[in-house]
């Protein structure tokens, strides 16, 4: 391997030529996917792989992975609260578990274990309920006490000194982190090899609808004829939906994250505290990756704020007093498409040929494979797959919300 690397360095040949190619826009496509994040690319991949639909364009206004897919903290897990949520996320985690083999490309999935801390009796009750739902649906998690927590994570302060002492945790062994960019590139590479056109720097600026049916998409590079437009633009999804005359129950909030200077390996689990609204993991480079809840007001701005860093640091030091001298290296934000019931919206809209996979808020990375797979199935069969029926847009009109309080950055 290393000899090969040296040869490649000397003769300038890279192991892979370009991972995906550049194309001119075709006049028409069977499916146009707006948004080149993980969700859009996964849908393109499964359309080609499982349904033989390859005349597909992915239109991305920046570079692929420029949105949440390249900005998230890469936590994957399936221990949600509602049965619908657990089933869906478990399928997704299973697809992630086989991804490196499927892609012949290392997505660096590290199932190091995921702990959601509980600091109150109420939180403990929710954890027990989640553990039971997980048991029923096969998601695997259990409630553990401070002793076991301390064993799994020695630097954590499990004493009764902090303002919010740790009473227990929901332990999810299959949860962990992975490399989000690799997921985006893997889907893009394989979709490209099967004939999908990935168009970067291609911004959708309008959607043409005639008699309630989609007939095409206007972009900065020209008009594309198509009868099927898929909105996979997460934080920007209200803008795209508006182009088709569809209004969504979505509000866009920034979510920030930060990394510290690299440290020697000392944390080999993911720690989340719902009550303190913070979470932390250590990357393979040794940096601590941390996040909190969404910003206090809706916005399309992706600027960081000092308030976030201060709030996060304060809570983090309650959990890990030993981090007090660690310096913050970088901070960034991404846009999150929040829905009223903290659950995604997947499927048909009142406009024929306009489908959505949106409302992924702060939790969509872990859902990428399953969302792509099920949206591809929906587009190919023109029917809503049973697994994603709970997430249909119509639920808001049928008094049937999902209510996923097991979602990140919302649980109290």
């Amino acid at each position: 391997m290393s000899l090969k690397l040296i040869k490649q360095a000397l003769n300038g040949k890279r192991p892979l030529s370009r991972m995906w190619r550049h194309h001119d826009l075709k006049e028409s496509y069977d499916v146009v996917i707006i948004g080149g994040g993980g969700h859009g690319l996964a849908c393109a991949y499964y359309l080609a792989k499982e349904h033989g639909i390859t005349n597909v364009a992915v239109a991305e206004k920046h570079y692929i992975g420029a949105g949440g897919s390249g900005r998230n903290t890469a936590i994957v897990r399936s221990n949600y609260l509602t049965p619908a949520g657990v089933r869906f996320y478990d399928e997704s985690l299973k697809l992630y578990e086989q991804m490196s083999v499927e892609f012949d490309f290392n997505v660096m999935l590290s199932q190091r274990g995921h702990l959601t801390l509980a600091h109150s009796d109420g939180a403990m009750r929710t954890m027990r309920r989640r553990a039971e739902v997980n048991l029923l649906e096969g998601g695997e998690s259990s409630v553990i006490g401070p002793d076991k927590i301390k064993k799994l994570c020695p630097p954590l302060d499990v004493s009764d000194h902090p303002r919010y002492p740790i009473l227990g945790a929901l332990y999810h062994p299959r949860g962990g982190i992975m490399r989000h960019d690799a997921v985006v590139w893997g889907y893009a590479h394989h979709a490209d090899r099967m004939g999908v056109h990935i168009h970067q720097l291609t911004e959708a600026t309008g959607i043409e609808v005639q008699n309630g049916k989609v007939t095409g998409v206007q972009t900065n590079r020209g008009f594309i004829k198509t009868g099927m437009v898929h909105n996979a633009t997460a934080g920007w999804s209200s803008i795209i939906a508006d182009m088709a005359g569809v209004k969504l129950p979505i509000t866009t909030y920034p979510l920030q994250a930060l990394v510290t200077e690299p440290l020697k390996p000392f944390l080999d689990v993911v720690i989340v505290s719902g009550s303190l609204h913070v979470y932390i993991s250590q990357s393979d480079r040794g940096e601590l990756v941390m996040g909190a809840s969404v910003d206090p007001y809706a916005s399309y701005s992706m600027r960081g704020s000092l308030g976030f860093t201060e709030g996060l640091a304060g809570h983090m030091l309650e959990l890990f007093p030993s981090l007090s001298h660690v310096r913050v290296m970088r901070q960034w934000a991404g846009l999150c498409d929040m829905t009223p019931d903290y659950s995604q919206i997947m499927g048909f809209t009142p406009v024929e040929g306009f489908v959505v996979d949106v409302g992924w808020g702060t939790y969509g990375f872990k859902a990428t494979p399953s969302a792509g797979k099920r949206m591809a199935e929906l587009i190919a069969t023109n029917e809503t797959p049973e697994m994603i029926r709970p997430f249909r847009l119509a639920r808001f009109y049928e008094n049937d919300p999902v209510g996923e309080k097991g979602a990140a950055s919302v649980e109290k």
Partner: protein, 84 residues
Amino acid sequence: MIQIDCPNCGMRNVNEFRFGGEYNPRPKEMMNVSNEEWADYVFLRENKVGVQKEWWYHRAGCGLWFLAERHTKTNKVESAYLWD
């Protein structure tokens, strides 16, 4: 960081305020709206990029709920005024 000009207190740091969501007037004839119109009102949002009319609450100040017009990309607050 943005500042908001509270109609009572003047310019204050945004951290003193609580965001109350985009302005979304109730249907006029509340008793006569269909279920669908009601769900539209309760759930759907413009969520636009541009100047948005929205509710703010001066939580750490005078306790007033008021309206502001803010650009959702730059976060610049154009104006703040009382509801009437």
